[in-house]
């Protein structure tokens, strides 16, 4: 296969300045990740230790295979929301390996507000269930939660994407024959009681684990009966008498060991067959991406420089290289998995949209997973392009992306504006996974453009009323807040806080993240594509 040749000079001042800039962003990311993992109050830590519980990190270490990756999902969900300390929306979740088997593990963190569920916590749980369903990954849940965070109950209870949906999904996941294994390591009250109840396997820890529809305070209030949590819903009651739980564990460590045994006993998983080659490293060090990506989002750069640092042997068989050059499409391998990769080299024109449509159809028919590298300011606008039908060509690309059934993976590498976000498989287009680089920005349009539009609309309105246009200082009053909001709500941390992605990643780790995700995605069979018509040459 043809090999990409880099024209970036790692000794240039530009490269070094870019590198240092990205190094700073990655350093901050590491700090945020560490804070999310470790920032807990002394009181919560002491309480956890007093109860003889392992911490969430220790539980994850114990349940997952050693020396294997853990691809954490949304570790910075709810970042800077609520009181700023509901790290990871109150839980940790991710894809890891148990007994050689790829699984999705999620765990409440009882050291964050007693593991109570905030609105973003529900959103994260639902996201994890989507990952489980789309990729057919066994779900392992370590429950230790005081239930809904009552002051915000109205935001997490009744709607289609609220708490009730979690249990609905559990039934559907079970119907799909995807194993669900739950360990009760703390309270599972009321609705929370259904998380174990709806699972295939329930492991119950003596002393700390409790399942009941109404906890001791509610029982006392309703009936006057005085009862302890252990008597009301402890491991012995549920394992020996009620049959709600299946496996009795003396402590957290034993519960983790039992989960490992259960996973080892699951029927073998046949992964989807895709073209594989021996995995080889890229010719260029992935860390050079730090120096390749310009400091300013508005500075254009060749996305092939990124691809050369992502794909095996830096080999890319480019599709329609000379046609629609603002979108680069081609076949490559990542960690040995064949992929169709698309990356932006400028604004999308009709030709680039048609090229994308053709390429996506081919990949979908051939069962080749798609990788989207988004750095897109949008589709081209203007009279000439509207006349040529840019909207209907954009439609083709968006429709092809929406209906492709092969695994789709998206990485936000810079700009993500307007319909470009959709055409390049943004969150709403159900990529199996989506990650954000720390430099990325997202929005309906760039903040400057948005301000200009608002000023134009205002001036048009004033003109209709026979008034003079806004003076420059009034324009600034409009531009300032719009720019500020654009920067705040468009940046990677706002994105990841709202679960618009599965996490912010170090660009140098993109290759490994994609490789892990491809392997995980292949736990689900590929649809056999018979579209009832030929692939159309666009």
């Amino acid at each position: 296969m043809p090999v990409l040749r880099s024209s970036v000079d790692p000794n240039s001042d530009e490269y070094k300045a870019n590198f240092d800039h990205m190094a700073g962003l990655v350093e901050r990311l590491r700090e945020e990740l560490t804070k999310a993992r470790e920032d807990r109050s002394d009181r919560a830590r002491a309480r956890n230790a007093e109860l003889g519980k392992l911490t969430v990190s220790e539980r994850l270490d114990r349940v997952l295979d050693r020396n294997a990756p853990f691809l954490e999902i949304a570790p910075l969900a709810a970042w800077n929301m609520y009181d700023g300390r509901i790290h990871g929306a109150g839980s940790r979740a991710g894809i890891g390996v148990i007994q050689g088997r790829e699984v999705l593990v999620s765990a409440n963190d009882p050291m964050i507000k007693g593991g109570t569920i905030y609105p973003m916590g529900v959103k994260k749980t639902l996201r994890c269930q989507t990952i489980v369903m789309e990729n057919r990954l066994p779900a392992v849940t370590l429950v230790d939660s005081g239930g809904a965070y009552l002051p915000m109950q109205s935001e997490i209870f009744p709607d289609i994407d609220d708490g009730g949906r979690v249990f609905y999904n559990q039934a559907i996941i079970s119907k799909m024959n995807i194993p669900q294994i739950t360990a009760v390591m703390g309270l599972c009250t009321a609705g929370g009681a259904y998380i174990p109840a709806m699972s295939d396997h329930v492991v119950h820890v003596k002393g700390t684990g409790a399942i009941f529809l109404g906890g001791p305070p509610l029982v006392k209030a309703a009936t006057g009966e005085e009862v302890t949590a252990e008597e009301l819903g402890g491991a012995r009651l549920h394992c020996a008498e009620s049959g709600v739980s299946d496996y009795f564990a003396e402590d957290d460590a034993m519960a983790c060991d039992i989960i490992r045994e259960i996973v080892a006993n699951l029927p073998p998983q046949r992964k989807a067959e895709v073209a594989r080659r021996a995995p080889v490293d890229p010719l260029y060090d992935p860390k050079e991406i730090w120096g390749v990506v310009p400091r300013s989002l508005s500075t254009p750069y060749d996305i092939r420089e990124v691809m050369a640092r992502l794909v095996d042997g830096s080999e890319l068989l480019e599709f329609k290289r000379m046609y629609g050059p603002t979108l680069v499409c081609g076949w490559a391998h990542i960690h040995g998995y064949q992929v169709g990769i698309l990356g932006n080299n400028g604004v999308l024109f009709s030709e680039s949209a048609l090229k994308a449509t053709h390429f996506i159809q081919l990949c979908d028919r051939q069962g080749i997973p798609l990788v989207f590298l988004q750095n897109i300011s949008g589709y081209i606008i203007g009279r000439e392009y509207e006349r040529a039908g840019i909207t209907k060509d954009g439609h083709k690309m968006v429709a092809a992306v929406a209906t492709a059934t092969v695994p789709k993976l998206t990485v936000m590498c810079g700009q993500s504006f307007g319909a470009g976000n959709y055409g390049m498989c943004g969150r709403a287009y159900s990529p199996r996974f989506l990650w954000t680089w720390p430099n990325a920005q997202i929005g309906v349009m760039g903040a400057e453009e948005a301000a200009k539009v608002l000023i134009t609309v205002k001036n048009d309105q004033l003109a209709r009323e026979g008034q003079p246009p806004l003076p420059p200082e009034m324009e600034e009053l409009i531009r300032g807040p719009v720019r500020e909001a654009g920067e705040k709500e468009g940046n990677a941390y706002y994105s990841t806080a709202n679960l618009w992605d599965d996490g912010i990643i170090d660009p140098a780790k993109t290759r490994d993240v994609l490789g892990l995700a491809l392997s995980a995605a292949l736990n689900a069979p590929l649809d056999q594509r018979d579209q009832g018509h030929a692939t159309f040459r666009m």
Partner: protein, 498 residues
């Protein structure tokens, strides 16, 4: 004591070292090549670092990568095991230069003892008997011929920086000398990058007897008695035992004392082995010093009740050796059989492949030090040792009977091994009589061939495994599409924040 130690090796010895580290509460870091990412030593460690590709130069001999791995993981010391870099003085020096501790003797001691000629001179000066022969390398053929005449035929040509039988030739008459010397020199040059050769008198049917020594950095020094390693195939030890059936108490004391003289003369620190040749009439000659833990060290451990690796680590950390020579009394008899992946039906060529089933022997006095498990692949790139079966019993006949039982019960299916040959040796009259010498296999088993019906129990095992589908792996282990591993298997410990 160290908090964390990196083990710069693979296979059974790496696993064995990691076990002791775990017992000592010291974190163990494994290093590995890409074909070893699921090897037992990786799975046994607290952390593992990928060094590079399979070829040893990129991985287990890659000095800079190994030192960097130790620095990156925060290890304070490196244990080199045996083979690979264990007797490489430059490596030991590089480790110390990086501010780390090398678990073994100081670099200058390794360098002095590593060159056989230098070692011969050093010890001849200390009054230890060496096999009569040249004290400097041969400059040319005439030099070699003069020396051969002086010590008397037959002579043995050896490579100055050799080992494992490479570059060795027995020459019984002057006419054979030229051809043998040329062949030996080119073989040595190919194997060690140094074609320097010398010769010494060839002892007919000597025994190979070695003495284990242990020295700390405070001047305390003990010997841990002998190991007899005479049962060799092509200069490769296959069965070792202790005590040696050939030693009288007087001879044992004399050899032990000689080993201490050698260690003292060399300024030795840490565990080492002084090898001697013992002639049939009870004369012993210094052969060489192995400046590392030996493959066969467990037989010493079980007869003395010691953990040699623990002592190595403690000595390297500056500890004082608590053992007193007069308190050391070996008990009973120990035998070790080395299990290699080799095919007796194909001239004992290495037999790599997948271990379908590994079920080690157990029971009183049985120990299996191995680097394998059911389902692991044995790569072609390295020494094919799978493990070592070690038994201990009260006396030699009981130990032989126990080894025969243990060898029969030790199941390794999927690769060929020479278990059958070792069973035949252990059951033979010459072995029972203790007539072990370095030509034992040639003399008594030169025409040995595996039995034609093969191992019936293994055949039944294979058929059962096939019927049960044990040989096929679940696809989730990454076997989809061509058997290439998934990054879940190759990346090791990995997180977004690491």
């Amino acid at each position: 004591m160290f908090d964390k130690v990196l083990v710069a090796n693979r296979g059974e010895i790496a696993v064995r070292i990691l076990r002791t580290l775990r017992e000592m509460g010291v974190a163990g870091v494994a290093v590995h090549s890409d074909v070893d990412s699921r090897a037992l030593h990786v799975l046994s460690a607290d952390e593992a670092v990928l060094l590079g590709e399979a070829d040893p130069a990129s991985s287990y001999l890659n000095v800079e990568r190994i030192v960097q791995a130790a620095l990156d993981t925060g290890a304070q010391a490196i244990h080199p095991g045996y083979g690979f870099l264990s007797e490489n003085a430059d490596f030991a020096a590089r480790v110390e230069e990086a501010g780390l501790t090398f678990i073994g003797p100081p670099a200058d001691v390794i360098a002095r003892l590593g060159d056989k000629l230098t070692a011969r001179r050093l010890l001849a000066d200390a009054g230890v008997a060496v096999v009569p022969g040249m004290e400097v390398a041969a400059r040319d053929l005439a030099d070699l011929a003069r020396a051969a005449d002086a010590v008397g035929y037959p002579v043995l040509i050896k490579a100055s920086s050799g080992g494992g039988g490479k570059g060795m030739r027995v020459v019984s008459s002057p006419e054979e000398l030229t051809d043998a010397a040329t062949a030996a020199s080119s073989e040595a040059s190919g194997a060690f990058g140094d074609g320097t050769i010398y010769l010494e008198r060839y002892l007919d049917r000597p025994r190979h007897v070695e003495v284990q020594v242990l020295a700390d950095s405070h001047g305390n020094l003990v010997h841990l008695f002998e190991r007899e390693c005479s049962i060799q195939r092509r200069h490769q030890k296959i069965i070792e035992e202790t005590p040696s059936p050939a030693l009288t108490p007087e001879l044992r004391a004399a050899m032990g004392e000689a080993a201490l003289v050698v260690a003292r003369a060399a300024g030795y620190v840490n565990a080492g082995t002084v090898e001697f040749l013992l002639s049939p009439d009870g004369e012993f000659f210094f052969l060489e010093v192995n400046t590392r833990i030996q493959v066969e060290h467990p037989i010493t451990e079980v007869t003395l009740g010691l953990d040699l690796v623990r002592h190595q680590v403690e000595i390297a950390a500056g500890g004082v050796l608590g053992l007193r020579q007069e308190e050391l009394v070996p008990r009973g008899h120990a035998i070790e059989c080395r299990i290699y992946a080799e095919d007796p039906a194909a001239g004992f060529l290495p037999s790599p492949g997948k271990v379908i089933l590994c079920r080690p022997a157990s029971g009183p006095g049985v120990r299996f030090d191995s680097g394998i498990y059911s389902g692991v692949d044995i790569p072609v790139s390295y020494d094919p040792i799978l493990g070592k079966l070690i038994v201990w019993a009260e006396d030699r006949p009981a130990a032989m009977a126990r080894m025969i039982r243990a060898l029969r019960a030790n199941v390794v299916l999927g690769v060929h091994t020479a278990t059958e040959l070792m069973l035949d040796i252990l059951a033979s009259a010459p072995f029972a009589e203790g007539e072990t010498h370095t030509r034992f296999v040639e003399d008594h088993f030169g025409a040995w061939a595996p039995s034609e019906e093969g191992d019936l129990a293994a055949a039944v095992g294979y058929v059962s495994a096939d019927l049960l589908g044990l040989g096929s792996e679940p696809a989730a282990l990454g076997d989809e599409g061509g058997g290439w591993p998934s990054p879940w298997q190759t990346l090791g410990r990995w997180t977004l924040g690491s």
